[in-house]
């Protein structure tokens, strides 16, 4: 179907009659009977001429060229077809796409379907492929660059991410396995099939660093239709743990979950793996890994302006508990943790000191010495959400004399005034240990360990490898929703003027060729 953008210009077409009139051969002025017509024709042939005839073919070609030019002048075009002309492809790259439900993974089927679908699109449709992976929507350069599914769940709402900011002339095509809520609009292609799966759905590490005690707990889920008995095992490289525990056998009803805990002691630190036997549809949720920090080797130094043994005893106890050493403050070896009581130290030099100070005045350059300690109030309050103090009971803390705690994040208050602050890697107490009963409280050893751990937070961190999926990702029992086909795409108007001009030129060339043909 062709329409013209300037149909009035087609009124030039009747002028084609002039071409036929101008092509009329001259009218003979007489007609002669002759018995020698063959001789006449032979004479013409010898003279390289032909009888005068109406040049039907040449005239017809000229007329065709004229009509084609008129049609081109009138702006012929194929009318546009309503419908979307762009396609937004959203690919669910969550870990569940790696599930192999027989005949290859769902991801392989998704990539093949995507390549086939893009190849079958009309040429004028512009498609953009966006991959939903690890809580981000990333535009893919090409279908071949999709990579592999993530090792995590989607982390976001697939339906909202796919439909969000969808232009009006853009169709949506979502490719997923249907484990997450799918968009209600647009085309949908789901891959994969219902399958049985055993999964680790939760993992937690309770590390008592700097102590060697570690507790790893996992939660095993049975996403099958029958009861399953499974052995959960913990594995580590030699030297990481003091001893590797035996596998824990779980008996799981269909859809049931069970927590399994492993209490181990750290030997050297390293990677620890908690795994299921595997062999099910989705391997990504059959194991979880973490890296335990190595045990500390603290070198603890004590600086005190008095002979009170309390601080020294506490330092010795911390060193023995963590397997460290008590070093002299004047030793060349750099101390990894310092316990200070009293005195005054330059603030600049102690800005990043890993340690715990009691009543030490940090004086900046050119600053006046701190005022003498003043009597403290009776009521003590502390930040119970602070990791350093969580679970500690400081209600019995009594302080006789207080000085200024200085700048820092307040941890403990006395009468509304900060008496313990955290600054950098150090914790500063605004009282001397001897002026308080802190060393008598049960929380004191824990506070020492926590201050040490806080001073070495980077070293004490347990690194858990990503890979733990959402339970919804691991539950492969549900059948994916039915597919929805791609909509009929629209098409822009197609200008046919060049083709008509080409036809006119071709007709003229054919006419020239026919004229020059012998």
């Amino acid at each position: 179907m062709i329409e013209f953008s300037h149909p009035a210009r087609l009124l030039l077409a009747p002028a084609v009659a002039l071409i036929f009139l101008l092509a009329l051969p001259p009218r003979p002025h007489r007609e002669v009977l002759t018995a020698y017509l063959p001789q006449w024709l032979h004479a013409l042939l010898r003279s390289r001429r032909r009888p005068l005839r109406y040049p039907w073919l040449r005239t017809l070609l000229a007329a065709v060229a004229f009509l084609a030019a008129v049609a081109a002048f009138a702006g012929p075009r194929v009318p546009p077809v309503p419908g979307p002309q762009r396609l937004r492809v959203v690919v669910d790259a969550s870990a569940s796409l790696a599930a192999d439900t027989g005949g290859g993974s769902a991801w392989s089927a998704l990539r093949a379907a995507l390549a086939g679908g893009l190849a079958g699109l009309p040429a004028h449709v512009r498609a953009s492929v966006e991959v939903l992976r690890c809580d981000r929507l990333v535009r893919a350069v090409a279908p071949d660059a999709l990579g592999e599914p993530a090792h995590t769940g989607l982390g976001m709402d697939l339906a909202r991410a796919a439909v969000g900011a969808l232009p009006e002339d853009t169709a949506l095509w979502t490719l997923t396995d249907g484990r997450a809520p799918v968009p209600a609009v647009g085309a949908l292609a789901c891959f994969g099939a219902p399958a049985d799966n055993l999964a680790l759905v939760a993992f937690a590490v309770h590390d008592a660093w700097p102590l060697p005690d570690v507790e790893l707990s996992v939660e095993v889920a049975n996403f099958t239709a029958r009861e399953r008995v499974v052995d959960v095992r913990l594995a580590a490289a030699p030297g990481v743990l003091a001893s590797v525990p035996e596998p824990v056998r779980c008996k799981l009803a269909p859809g049931a979950r069970e927590a399994v805990a492993f209490a181990v002691r750290r030997a050297g630190g390293g990677e620890v793996v908690v795994a299921l036997p595997g062999g099910d549809a989705l391997a990504a949720d059959d194991e979880v890994r973490c890296v335990l920090p190595p045990p500390p080797a603290p070198r603890i130094a004590v600086l005190s302006d008095s002979d009170a043994p309390v601080l020294r005893v506490a330092a010795r106890a911390l060193a023995e508990e963590t397997g460290g050493d008590l070093v002299s403050a004047t030793d060349d070896a750099r101390a990894s943790f310092v316990l200070v009581e009293g005195g005054a130290q330059p603030a600049a030099a102690w800005a990043d000191l890993p340690g715990l100070t009691f009543g030490t005045a940090l004086v900046a350059a050119g600053e006046a010495p701190a005022p003498p300690p003043s009597p403290a109030g009776a009521h003590v309050e502390w930040d119970r959400t602070e990791p350093l103090l969580r679970g500690l009971d400081l209600s019995e803390l009594r302080v006789a004399r207080l000085s200024s705690a200085g700048e820092g994040r307040p941890l403990v208050w006395n009468g509304g005034q900060p008496v313990v602050v955290a600054r950098g890697r150090a914790v500063h107490c605004a009282f001397r240990l001897a002026d308080s009963n802190l060393w008598l409280l049960p929380a004191f050893p824990q506070l020492l360990r926590r201050c040490y751990r806080a001073a070495h937070a980077e070293t004490a961190r347990v690194v858990v490898a990503p890979g733990l999926l959402d339970p919804e990702e691991s539950d492969l029992r549900a059948a994916p929703p039915p597919d929805r086909p791609l909509p009929a795409f629209g098409a822009p108007p197609k200008d046919l003027s060049p083709w008509f001009l080409l036809a006119a030129l071709g007709a003229l060339l054919a006419r020239v060729w026919w004229t020059r043909a012998p």
């Binding site: 007489r30 002669v32 009977l33 002759t34 018995a35 020698y36 010898r46 009888p51």
Partner: protein, 305 residues
């Protein structure tokens, strides 16, 4: 004299009757002035007796006697027997004329049409034959034949010619006379276009021992054309039509083609052992112009002999 020349060269009316009164008078005058035949024109019936003749089929010997010509002596028999014998042959050359007249549509070509000349030539030859010979066999273009005898049949001759069919089938024209066994002289009046069409018929006549003379009334268009400009040419035989632009070059090329055609016509008759005579037709076609010079006085003497 220029006006007189122009008057004489005035083209004849194409619709002019073929035998106007002036021509009829000319015809009678030609018959009257034709040379007398040796055997007389009033000999009734065919001469079927055996008679000595110089040509014919050998029939036997008889003793040479008084009155016999010396050329009839059989010298081979004399050499064997030392006696003179005269050869006796059966006469084949009867005193008749078989006139083949082509009045096909192609005869309408020319200015004036060749058809008028063909009819008048046929009338002249036929009248002479009726006057001087035993019989005239008139064969039309479609093969139909008519036998006329005596000068009294002249009007029938003219009527038959005037009503002759517009056809020219050479083989059909010669087959009927050959089947009838007509001997004597044969005259074939036609334009002989195309020449190859008459070649089989001429060959057939030769195989049967007939002698034929072709008469081609030659009009001005047979030598070339004086046409110039855009002209429509139409073949009356086939009805084909062509429009050509005639210039000097085309005139020359056409004249060359006509010369080639004449050579082809001559070659066809020469190949059959016959003669083709081109008899010029007066341009004005006036009976006065049909002076006896056309003639075929010599031809009349020839076939009347």
């Amino acid at each position: 004299m220029g006006w007189l020349r122009r008057a004489r060269k005035q083209p004849a009316d194409p619709h002019e009757p073929p035998f106007p009164p002036a021509f009829r008078r000319l015809l009678l005058e030609a018959v009257r002035r034709a040379p007398r035949a040796t055997y007389g024109v009033d000999c009734a019936g065919p001469a079927r007796q055996r008679t000595a003749s110089r040509s014919g089929t050998f029939a036997g010997h008889r003793s040479y006697g008084r009155g016999d010509e010396v050329r009839d002596v059989d010298w081979h028999a004399y050499a064997r027997t030392r006696a003179l014998f005269a050869k006796v042959v059966e006469e084949e050359e009867r005193r008749t004329l078989t006139l083949l007249v082509d009045l096909s549509p192609s005869q309408d070509a020319g200015t004036p049409p060749r058809r008028l000349a063909t009819l008048r030539f046929a009338a002249l030859y036929g009248a002479l034959a009726l006057a001087r010979l035993d019989a005239l066999h008139l064969v039309h273009g479609d093969g139909r034949a008519l036998t006329l005898r005596g000068a009294a049949s002249l009007e029938a001759l003219l009527q038959s010619l005037a009503a002759a069919p517009r056809a020219h089938a050479p083989l059909a024209m010669v087959q009927r006379p050959l089947e009838e066994g007509w001997a004597g002289r044969w005259l074939w009046i036609s334009d002989f276009v195309p020449p190859d069409a008459v070649a089989p018929a001429l060959a057939l006549l030769r195989r049967h021992g007939r002698r034929c003379v072709g008469i081609l009334p030659e009009i001005a268009d047979d030598r070339g054309t004086d046409l110039l400009g855009v002209v429509a040419l139409r073949d009356p035989e086939s009805g084909a039509r062509a429009v050509v632009r005639v210039d000097r070059d085309l005139q020359r090329a056409f004249a060359d083609e006509l010369a080639a055609l004449r050579r082809a016509q001559d070659a066809v008759f020469r190949g059959a052992g016959f003669a083709l005579q081109r008899v010029p037709v007066p341009a004005d076609f006036a009976p006065a112009s049909w002076a006896f010079a056309w003639a075929p006085r010599r031809s009349a003497v020839e076939f009347a002999r």
